[in-house]
């Protein structure tokens, strides 16, 4: 056992040794603080066993921000390595590991959890529900994502990171990578993927079945619409990932031949299966972003969203097309002209519904009384920059032209322009926008603007030069280059931009601390004073754990706007409180996910007894859950007295 730890703990590299020590110190620090302030029980009852969708959402967001930090550090290390020619800051192996973990973490463990976190916080509130349909399952979703992420992340200090790119192409990932790194990738994604699939099922049922009376499908807020469609994509796409990862896990652990070079394996099969999941995945993170921007534009332009119906139709169209484009990821790998043409056309067709959305946003702004708050800045900044990403996407979508652009920095610049301007901008915008709903105060506007400008300028300085580097022939995933290539100047510029984004992130983190200390506490549920949808209709700033004292009645699109108008006209009725039924906390989702982690760890190192132990633990948790009756699990009732007390707090 001691030998096993000694063999796998990476201590030879000074950078990784530093990482090991800082992880150890942070763990000791956290344990010390929790013990010193006697917070263990609080942590367990308030957070680890919570089934409250708002708390689960907050935990998702915290985890995503930590992953943003990790992925960002990876990015800055890459930029540091590429700034000057013939750099020896990183070894080639280390560089391979870093671009692999950067991509995987940013997509799987940062972007997706961030939007799912916002969905968790906002969607039940927007549809006037008390919670999601399956609160227990929701907790399981979060914890399996969390422990999947931890399993993936410990790879860099224990055993070695995956090094075959985030797309993990075979046969490189099978025959070219003997260490445990790829196993970490396969099992970390598999475990967190279970959580994502459960989220998909949970939110579809929630949105279809739990809407407040009067909220027809065509009265749903746009963010809820995008959440619904996104979760349909999840349910259709994630089983493909599950199978794909399992197939390669079998190849690596049990000697099967799905993707190997020998004995009939088909490496190309991996590319197809991976992108049948992978391309819809792009829309899993981008569609909710469109929803967030829609809410913010309507709120701060003080107008109803323009073209609501066409917005709905366009997201449905995009979700459908997202499944029909996967081959554009390997136009150059020997498909026939006919195949390439079909996928070229479907790819470029996506620009049409996306264009419709952009015009709708612009027309929402037209003649609006625009207020440039921080969320609005992110949203307005999104339009032109995302347009660059979209247009370059159409350039890449032309199969013939793609032979020139593929695997160059042009591609790198393109997908950063779509994913950062789309998803990351939206995450920041939504985070700031809904912050008062989660924590009861706003983030500081001035610091928020600093974050925005540092990030916006840094981002463009970083990635615009990469289009040019692509035209100059600089290939992606390159570890270093020579001075004669002539790529130095643009790379220096790009690195400066990267530093700008790093500074923006630090300002954001400082802003959270600063606002926690000094920001004015919000008293009303409608913190921005311009809320249009039901999440702003709660009586207290942070929604009470039961959300709404009385289930709201929806009379049209922008339900809260209508309620406010009625209130002004004096038509509001006095609320009549009834006891509210709420689900009880549950510890099994946490425990079960720990067992998932144990099983995954055992499989990574082929320590079968640990894997079996974890597997038995998972099955035991499932059996225990199945044996519970509805009666034992029926939760509890909140008394009318307690509701009145909570509701009147804001008036005091």
């Amino acid at each position: 056992m001691f030998d096993f730890i000694k063999d796998n703990l990476i201590l030879n590299d000074p950078m990784l040794l530093g990482a090991n020590i800082s992880i150890l110190l942070s763990v000791i620090g956290i344990v010390f603080i929790l013990t010193y302030f006697k917070k263990w029980k609080w942590l367990w009852t308030e957070w680890l066993t919570s089934v409250d969708h708002k708390k689960i959402g907050i935990m998702y967001i915290i985890a995503a921000v930590i992953m943003l930090f990790r992925g960002g550090v990876d990015a800055l290390l890459m930029r540091a390595q590429l700034t000057v020619p013939n750099n020896e800051f990183l070894t080639s192996q280390h560089y391979n590991e870093i671009f692999t973990t950067h991509g995987t973490i940013m997509i799987i463990f940062m972007a997706m959890p961030f939007v799912i976190g916002l969905m968790n916080v906002v969607v039940p509130l927007q549809i006037g529900a008390r919670d999601v349909a399956f609160p227990y399952l929701n907790a399981l979703s979060f914890w399996s994502f969390f422990f999947g992420a931890i399993l993936f992340n410990i790879s860099f200090v224990f055993g070695g990171s995956p090094d075959a790119g985030w797309t993990n192409y075979a046969p490189l990932a099978i025959e070219g990578s003997p260490g445990p790194g790829i196993n970490y990738y396969l099992l970390g994604l598999q475990i967190s993927g279970i959580g994502t699939l459960l989220t998909g099922i949970n939110f579809i049922v929630t949105i279809i079945k739990m809407r407040a009376p009067g909220m027809t499908l065509m009265r749903m807020p746009m963010f809820t619409w995008t959440a619904l469609i996104t979760n349909f994509i999840i349910v259709f796409a994630f089983p493909v990932l599950t199978v794909t990862l399992a197939l390669m896990t079998f190849d690596r652990l049990f000697g099967t031949h799905f993707f190997t070079l020998a004995d009939g394996g088909m490496p190309m099969l991996w590319a197809n299966l991976f992108w049948i999941w992978g391309h819809p995945e792009v829309y899993i993170v981008i569609l909710p972003a469109f929803g967030i921007f829609s809410e913010i534009f309507a709120t701060f332009a003080r107008k109803t969203l323009f073209g609501y119906k066409s917005m709905v139709i366009s997201i449905v169209t995009i979700s459908f097309l997202s499944f029909l484009v996967w081959v554009h990821h390997f136009f150059t790998m020997g498909g026939t002209a006919a195949v390439n043409s079909v996928f070229s056309i479907t790819t470029m067709a996506i620009a049409v519904p996306t264009g419709i959305k952009i015009f709708n946003w612009l027309l929402t702004l037209y003649k609006g009384r625009i207020e440039y708050t921080v969320p609005m800045l992110w949203s307005v900044g999104f339009i032109p920059t995302f347009l660059i990403g979209g247009v370059t996407g159409v350039m890449l979508g032309m199969a013939a032209a793609d032979f020139q652009y593929h695997n160059s920095y042009f591609l790198v610049a393109h997908f950063h322009y779509t994913l950062i301007c789309g998803t990351v901008f939206a995450c920041f915008a939504g985070f700031v926008f809904w912050y008062p709903k989660m924590f009861g105060h706003k983030l500081n506007e001035r610091l928020g603007k600093w974050t925005f400008w540092f990030f916006m300028i840094g981002f463009n300085v970083c990635f615009l030069p990469q289009f040019l580097l692509g035209f100059d022939g600089m290939p992606r995933r390159i570890y270093t280059y020579g001075p004669e290539d002539g790529w130095t100047g643009l790379n220096v510029v790009s690195t400066i931009g990267g530093i700008g984004m790093g500074i923006a992130f630090m300002i954001l983190v400082y802003n959270v601390y600063y606002s926690f200390r000094y920001a004015k506490r919000e008293t009303s549920g409608d913190a921005w004073g311009a809320g249009r949808t039901l999440e702003w209709a709660t009586t207290t700033s942070v929604a009470p754990f039961y959300n709404f004292a009385v289930t709201p009645e929806v009379k049209g699109l922008d339900a809260f706007m209508i309620m406010k108008q009625e209130r002004e006209a004096g038509k509001e009725e006095k609320p009549e409180y009834k006891p509210i039924h709420m689900p009880s906390n549950a510890g099994t989702p946490f425990v079960m996910s720990v067992f998932f982690f144990v099983a995954g760890f055992g499989l990574v190192f082929k320590l079968w007894w640990i894997a079996i132990l974890g597997g038995i633990g998972v099955l035991a948790c499932m059996a225990l859950r199945s044996l519970r009756s509805h009666k034992e699990d029926e939760g509890y009732y909140v008394s009318v007295e307690e509701i009145i007390n909570t509701e009147q707090k804001k008036e005091a």
């Binding site: 529900a129 349909a133 399956f134 699939l197 998909g200 099922i201 949970n202 579809i204 049922v205 279809i208 079945k209 739990m210 349910v235 259709f236 796409a237 994630f238 089983p239 493909v240 599950t242 199978v243 794909t244 399992a246 197939l247 079998f250 049990f254 000697g255 099967t256 031949h257 799905f258 190997t260 020998a262 004995d263 009939g264 394996g265 088909m266 099969l269 299966l273 049948i276 039924h581 099955l619 059996a623 199945s626 044996l627 009756s629 509805h630 009666k631």
Partner: protein, 213 residues
């Protein structure tokens, strides 16, 4: 939970609680995900279908080569497996029929019979696997046999989980009787069981019948 009011007494037991209706609806969506899961495995199987590297082209004899699927599949054995599983789906349907009539005892009886057929299916599948491995066609033999075991194995694993799950539910009915809560569990398990039967039909035709041609 949500919208529990105005339930007609004619509503089937499993639909009488709000959480029951939510669970059944959610399970249908889960089955949608399962359809995608098996579709992906079938797609993989058919992509690798001709990758019988090392298999001998000519029938008969095993000198040096790897056996081809056509040589090893036996129509009789797999037909028995299919019939056993189809009957178990029928008995499972009878169990739900008895549940609707609130005959708890005969419902349990039919569930137990379903389980026995399920176990019989598993027994036949395991003996078949052992036979195949004995003849030189194992998980790592070549891409074809890898995908064969992955497909049939995933189905078999689902059947095993279904059996364990149903035993747990029968125990609960002994303890708590037939309530909207337990009825919902039986109903969902029956949906799962029929789904496994549905998948097997594709396995039987797609793998065994085509493999024997």
């Amino acid at each position: 939970m949500a919208h529990d009011e105005n339930i007609s007494p004619n509503t089937p037991l499993e639909y009488q609680s709000g959480i029951g209706r939510l669970n059944i609806f959610g399970f249908w969506i889960f089955l949608g995900a399962e359809v995608i899961l098996f579709s992906t495995i079938f797609a993989t199987y058919f992509s690798i279908y001709t990758s019988t590297i090392g298999g001998h082209a000519a029938h008969g004899g095993h000198a040096g080569g790897v056996p081809m699927p056509g040589e090893l599949f036996e129509i009789g054995n797999t037909l028995v497996m299919t019939i056993v599983l189809l009957i178990s789906s029928f008995t499972c349907g009878l169990a739900i029929h008895e549940m609707r009539k609130r005959n708890t005892k005969s419902m349990i009886a039919w569930l137990v019979i379903t389980l026995l057929f399920g176990l019989g299916f598993l027994y036949l599948e395991i003996t078949e696997f052992m036979h195949l491995v004995h003849e030189g066609a194992a998980l790592g033999t070549n891409a074809y046999w890898s995908s064969f075991y992955f497909l049939t194995g995933t189905h078999g694993l689902h059947v095993s989980l279904g059996i364990g799950w149903m035993i747990l539910i029968i125990l609960q009915i002994f303890k708590r009787g037939l309530t909207p809560d337990t009825a919902k569990k039986v109903f969902i398990a029956s949906l799962y069981w029929h789904f496994l039967d549905f998948v097997w039909i594709f396995v039987y035709t797609g793998v065994y019948l085509i493999g024997m041609v």
